[in-house]
Structures are given as C-alpha cells and as structure tokens.
C-alpha cells in the first residue's frame, strides 16, 4: 500500500479525468454560451446620419425631392426599405430648412410635388398637402411627418438623422 502522502493510482486517474474533463467542458462550454446569446449582444437597428443632397441645389420656393434606402440585416436576411421626402428651403440659412417625409399620413402612399398645383398630391385618395406639409384636402388625419434633426456637412451637403424603427 502506498503511504497517505502519495496519490493512489485510482485517485490519480480520478483527478486527471476530472481536470481533463473540466478543461474540455470549459473550452467547449464557454464558447457555446456566447454562440447561443450572440444575436442578443448585437446592436439593434442602426440610427444614422443620411445625406440627402447639396444645400446649393435646394431652391427657395421649390421643394427638393430626395430618397434613400436603408438595409436591415437580421442573420442571413437583408431587408431593404426605401424612404423619401422633400427639403423645403425658406431662406439663405441652412437651419431654415423644413424636411418632410413623403409618406402620406393617410395610408402610406408616396406623395409627389406638383408645381402646377403648388401642392403635394397623393395618388391613392387624392389628398393634397401644402408646401409646408399641412393637409389642404382629402382624408389624411394630420400633416406630413418631418425629419426633426438635420445638419450641413463641410462640403455643403444636408444630412438628416434617421432613427431606425
């Protein structure tokens, strides 16, 4: 028999098995946890500054049309959504811009500026909005939505702050 200070053959096997097993368990187990919760650690929808056009191209009295596309990636699925609107310039100051969303507040068709009618016309149910987006005629319950935040970049490009979702 071995004396009490020495590890018996059986105990040695037990300890070695425990250590090796624990190591293998940890090396595979910990990454597995991250693997499972990975989507929860990703950023959600991305807010971003989106360029819509040069300030010098926007003329007082004529709404400036713009459109852009945002892509949302969920795993291997990419969903592209289109957005559009009109920048309405009122004076020389870039702060003095009204940036309208061209999505009709009735049932979400896209409105178009008509120089002839001096209004945004909706093709779906004949709504009519003034240059500032107020409802003039038709079923929409409220004025056109506006992009609240905008800024001008160093090279004179207007950017709006797009909030995801």
């Amino acid at each position: 028999m071995s004396d009490s200070h020495e590890l018996s053959r059986r105990d040695f096997i037990k300890v070695t098995t425990g250590i090796v097993g624990g190591l293998i368990g940890a090396i595979i187990g910990l990454p597995s946890v991250f693997y499972l919760i990975d989507p929860a650690l990703q950023e959600g929808g991305k807010d971003a500054w989106v360029p819509i056009g040069k300030f010098e191209d926007m003329q007082v009295g004529t709404p400036y049309p713009f459109s852009f596309t945002r892509v949302q990636v969920n795993g291997w699925e990419r969903t592209a959504s289109s957005f559009g609107g009109y920048a309405v310039r009122k004076s020389d100051s870039p702060d003095d811009l009204l940036i309208l969303n061209s999505k009709c507040t009735h049932l979400a068709c896209t409105v178009n500026w008509s120089a002839e009618a001096q209004a945004y016309l909706c093709p779906c149910h004949d709504a009519k909005f003034s240059m500032e987006g107020e409802v003039v005629d038709g079923p929409p319950p409220r004025a056109l939505d506006i992009y609240e935040e905008h800024r001008i970049s160093e090279d004179g490009i207007i950017e709006i702050f797009f909030k995801a979702g």
């Binding site: 595979i28 990454p31 597995s32 991250f34 693997y35 499972l36 990975d38 650690l41 795993g75 291997w76």
Partner: protein, 219 residues
Amino acid sequence: MWKNIYLWLDERIGFNDLYTSLLDRPEPKTTWWNTLGSASMFLFVLQGLTGIFLTVYYTPSPDHAYDSINYIMQGVAFGWLIRGIHHWGATLMVLVVFIHMLRVFYTASFKYPRELTWLIGIGLFLTTLGMGFTGYLLPWNQKAYWATTVGTQIAGTAPFLGEFILKALRGGPDLSALTLQRFFSAHIWIIPAILAALIGVHLFLIIKHGESHWPKKDD
C-alpha cells in the same frame, strides 16, 4: 437534509450497484485498443451536442441553407468552432467506430456469447455511415449537391427496387427541397434515435458479458 434525500434515492436506485457495474466492474487486462468503444460514444455525445447547437442557426431550406451556414461561420460568435468540431468530429467518428470494429474482429471478440453485441455493432456502423451521408447534404453547396446526386443514383442501381429506393431517398425523382428536408429530419431525429437505442443495447450487453480478454498466442 441532503443526506436524507440521498439515502431515499439510494434505497430506490442503488447507486452502489450502478457505480460498480458502470465504472468499477472487473476487467481482464486490456489495452488502449479497448478504449475505442468509449471514444466512439464520446464522439457520439459530442456530435449530438454540437449538432443541437448548429440547429439554433441552420435552416434546412434550399433558399437559406447555404446562407445560414455562411452566417454560422462568419456572423455568430464561435460559430466556426461549433461547426468545426461537428465537421471534423463526423469524420473522426466514422474512423474511430471503424477501428473499434476492426479491433473487435482482430481479437475475435464477436464470438459466443457476444454475437449479438457484434450484430448490434454492425447496425451502429451502418447508422454512423448514414449520419455522414445525410449530414453531407445539409450545407447545400456544390459538393453536397453532387455527392448526394451520385450517392442516391448508386442506391438507385439496386435491382428491381432501385427506382423506388432512389425516389424514397430523394422524396421524388429529383434532388429538391424535399430531399434536403428529409435528409435533415433523418440526420437530426431518425438516425440519432436509432443510434442511441442501439448504443443502449450495445452497452447493456457489454456490461452483462464483461470485456473479452485479449487473446493469447495459443487461443
């Protein structure tokens, strides 16, 4: 309190007997070759675990299978590790099971009273190959597609029943969404269930008979 719970359970389960028959049963003098059965079982469990994790992101549809695997490899934290283990573990398992079979043959351990253990073993070998065959299609890339096209064609050359077998494997005359779906189902449910049941009987028989001794010169 824990002690009482332990005693209650022990009275009904018999931990001692369990321990003795699973971990402390008498063995003849054995070699490293006798560890290959346990190695096969370890790999089976490992494949099961990593496989379950892969199904968290994998999608068995022709539209998304390839992309979902790409996503596992590049988008998910440690996806490459989980898939890598499953990928190499599959090859290793076929290899280890085969060498285990060779060693049983070489030491003539299939003889009385272990014929049934051997027969079950043949079932284990075939189902292990079945896991490999069905798993290979799942990435739905060129290699997978054509390997399965050829593999099912080979099965289709069987006399009389050939065409039926080919259609049954593919779920129709062509490789399609149905093929991918039924291979997936076979790979994660049907074959593992058979494999687990066979392993259960295999182990029962091994515990019942004990390990055969290593043959001597005059055996």
